[in-house]
Amino acid sequence: MEAEGRVPGPPLPPPSLGSGGEAEADPDPPAGSPGAARGPLLAAAAEVLALDDEEDDLEVFSKDTSLAEVNSFSPSMPISPSSMINQYKFEDEPELRDLFITVDDPESHITAIETFITYRVVTKTSRGEFDSSEYEVRRRYQDFLWLKSKLEAAHPTLIIPPLPEKFIMKGMVERFSEEFIETRRKALHKFLNRIADHPTLTFNEDFKIFLTAQAWELSSHKKQGPSLLSRMGQTVRAVASSVRGGVKNRPETFTEMNDYMETFSQKINVLDKIAHRIYKEEREYFNEMKEYGPIHTLWSASEEDIADSLKGVASCIDKCCKATEKRMAGLSENLLPILHEYVLYSEILMGVLKRRDQIQGELDSKVDALANKKPEKDLFSEEIGKLEDKVECANNALKADWDRWKQNMQCDMRSTFTNVAENNLRYYEETHTRPFSNSTSENAIINDIFKVSTMESRELEQKHTWHVTHCFYYHPYYTFYFCISFLVRYAIVVYENLFAVFSKNNVVE
């Protein structure tokens, strides 16, 4: 199947995988596995649907280089299950990243049959297994779909990042509108980068081909691979086995995961709705405010004494308007895409959990069959042994990836929501942006703006505390302008403190 020849290349420095697991990797092959195809440690555990008989040409790599040179997944025989767990516990270290991908420059192509958009995918890397250090290819959405399905097939219990949807019905966005294309481009960019950051997926061969192959190379490569029929056969078997109750012997951890995902999925969907609703309300608020300011300017035209105050209010409302626009932009650039991504993630995770259940189901059904068919015991027990390992690998892969996902999720949520808070802080601060002198006392400020004599302003301050229901209430001559010095200083102090705290905690992906 995916049995492509791999030659161990020159040892590379450990990539963004950290050093956590390497020390524990046990290179000794397990006994009793004829034709033991041991592939690179990582990939081995991940490949569970591969057919067993094609792994002869795979070699076992030493600890260091094996990690560095995971070219593809293939054999189903892991070196040792326990070692695998440790492999997955590393932190993602962005500083050690050696693969940089950007997706940009959407272009539309018109053929006789269809119109579609391609995106430019630029890859820069220092990895040895890449022939060059820079690649530029064009890919269309279908290609991304292909990549995703290959990754899913190769690593059924790993969490593959979400792809933007084919067609967004909700917003009634036209397929080729600029906004739609831009949103999709950003999501595709994120997709590829998330794969690049994943300790296992980043070394996937199809991923490499996706990044580097020219258009015709890619289409010919696509045509290889397991036939549709054989893949369908696998799926049918899997489904059949799961139906037979793969949930029966589910380990506690995965039941917990399932429950968690159900609640999480609910909550994230609601959050997504809330965020969209807020955006909508802010947009309507903005629309009304646009009309609000000019009315004051119009009024000032028929007044003399209060014309200035009116114009002042008008300009402040306009400022408010602009700040609202920025606030909305912040939402749509930051919060909305992330929430949407995690909505998709929740679906993906439910799928991953199901697949794990399926694998377990296979094992369970074979075990049941064994109980009934005594004579073929030996054969079965071998099969069962294989399946047991398969299940264990799948479980471990999932567990590790789950932890990683949760950490990332936490990180993402923290930074996104902090960003939202910052966004809102900026909004409130911006409605008072006239820079002002160094006057600290309110009186001084009032005098400055209105050239009111000190005595008058003091008088006015004394009359400050009138009952609010009394129509003759007096106020000091506050305007929008006055608060800057006070508020900006206050806000800046607060902001600086929080920024310090925030930057310590924030782990950027």
Binding site: I274, E288, Y292, I295, F417, Y478
Partner: protein, 435 residues
């Protein structure tokens, strides 16, 4: 209230401002200074509102709201005692009656307007129901405002009817009706007619009319948009409240993020709740603007009166001129203009000299009367213009002062809203960064 100070109309008979016969103040009426104003002598509050049921004019059951007016004389500091509080109940229709009386009796004064009868410029939170407690409360404040404005007006505060409105519970309505002010009210039709056909109104009044039209249109536009803006702002804040609920539900399944989420959710709830106070304060601001919206109508009323008087004057002058002409024609026997008289005389023969003499005599008397009337009308008109304009200047100052303060208070409100927002989001940010 027995203190002599509190009854200015008794102690200063020459300043009796109550219902001058001709509908105009006597010339050179000494106007009360600010210190003599009723407002300074008497504390006036509309302190409560109560729902009542009763029978109306058509003997049907109806519910209405009654307002408690409390008055208390402001004693000088040396006495050190607090005077007792007098109170009586009045309903909105009585306020309306008072205002109608004042506007008819003092047509040269810009009479303060009443708060709106029905809730206007509502946004979704306020109901348009007259019985809604928020509306009733705001109307109570508006009525108090009205009374205070009248009491601090140098002319209006001396009116006896106004005084008894504040102090005499029973029989006030009858007293008002006895003044017969309704008869003095100019018919709307007459006024409209005058507006169209007047030839030479004082330019200042024409400008004032335009100004009041502009003021009315711009303020009503502003209030409409403000109501919509308030609605949207309400939406933005309240949807954030949903975060609170979801965060707290989500925090239940999270171990490390749980605390951060939970406390952030609490802050979202605070944020969502803060809009209620903010918008309530804004309603006060809107009410202040509304007052001046209604003042525009009062301004127009003064302009209309001027136009009416001017038209009257012009008509009287015209009448006089035509009578003089007639006289001349009869005297000289020439028919200068094409007239019915000319026609009939041609057809039926001329009148006898005796008849002519009689007619001339009558006409001369009428001309005499007419000239006197014209003189007095002229005088009235000039006085009206003078006193009206004095009040208008006073009004303009009041308006500029009040509106400026209203705008400033609006700015203060916005600032405080931003401060609250900053506080909430700072707290929320802290919670988020701890997740």
């Amino acid at each position: 209230m027995e203190s002599a100070e509190a009854e200015p109309s008794d102690s200063r008979p020459e300043e009796d401002g109550a219902a001058p016969r001709s509908g105009l103040p006597p010339p050179e009426q000494p106007v009360a200074t600010m210190e003599d104003c009723l407002a300074k002598k008497m504390e006036i509050t509309v302190s409560e509102a109560e729902k009542r049921t009763g029978r109306n004019a058509m003997n049907m059951q109806e519910t209405y709201t009654a307002y408690l007016i409390e008055t208390r004389a402001v004693e000088s500091q040396s006495e050190g005692q607090c005077a007792p509080v007098d109170s009586l109940w009045r309903r909105y229709s009585e306020f309306e009656l008072l205002r109608n009386y004042l506007s008819v009796t003092y047509p040269h004064i810009v009479v303060p307007p009443l708060p709106e009868k029905r809730a206007d410029f509502v946004w979704h939170k306020l109901s348009a129901d007259n019985m809604d407690p928020d509306f009733v409360e705001r109307r109570r404040i508006g009525l108090e405002n009205f009374l205070l404005r009248v009491a601090s007006h140098p002319v209006l505060c001396q009116d006896k009817i106004f005084y008894s409105f504040l102090t005499q519970e029973g029989g006030w309505k009858e007293m008002v009706n006895e003044t017969g002010f309704q008869l003095k009210a100019d018919s709307r039709l007459k006024a409209l007619n005058a507006t169209f056909r007047v030839k030479n109104p004082d330019k200042r009044f024409t400008e004032l009319k335009h100004y009041s039209d502009e003021l009315q249109s711009v303020i009503s536009h502003l209030l409409r948009v403000r109501a919509r803006v308030a609605d949207r702002l309400y939406g933005v804040y309240k949807v954030h409240g949903n975060y609170g609920r979801v965060f707290s539900e989500w925090s239940a399944i999270e171990k490390e993020m749980g605390d951060g989420l939970q406390s952030a959710g609490h802050h979202m709830d605070v944020y969502a709740a803060s809009i209620d106070d903010i918008l309530e304060e804004e309603e006060h601001y809107a009410d202040q603007l509304k007052e001046y919206l209604f003042y525009a109508e009062a301004l127009r009323a003064v302009c209309r009166k001027h136009e009416l008087m001017q038209y009257d004057l012009e008509m009287a002058a015209q009448d006089l001129t035509s009578k003089k002409q007639q006289c001349e024609e009869l005297a000289t026997g020439t028919v200068r203009t094409f007239s019915l008289k000319g026609m009939t005389s041609k057809l039926f023969g001329q009148e006898t000299p005796e008849q002519r003499e009689a007619k001339i005599k009558v006409l001369e008397e009428q001309i005499q009367e007419g000239e006197e009337q014209l003189k007095s009308k002229n005088l009235e008109g000039r006085d009206f213009v003078k006193s009206a304009w004095a009040d208008i200047e006073r009004f303009k100052e009041q308006k500029n002062h009040d509106l400026k303060e209203a705008l400033i208070s609006y700015a203060v409100m916005q600032i405080s809203m931003c401060k609250k927002g900053i506080q909430v989001w700072t707290n929320a940010k802290e919670c988020f960064s701890k997740m």
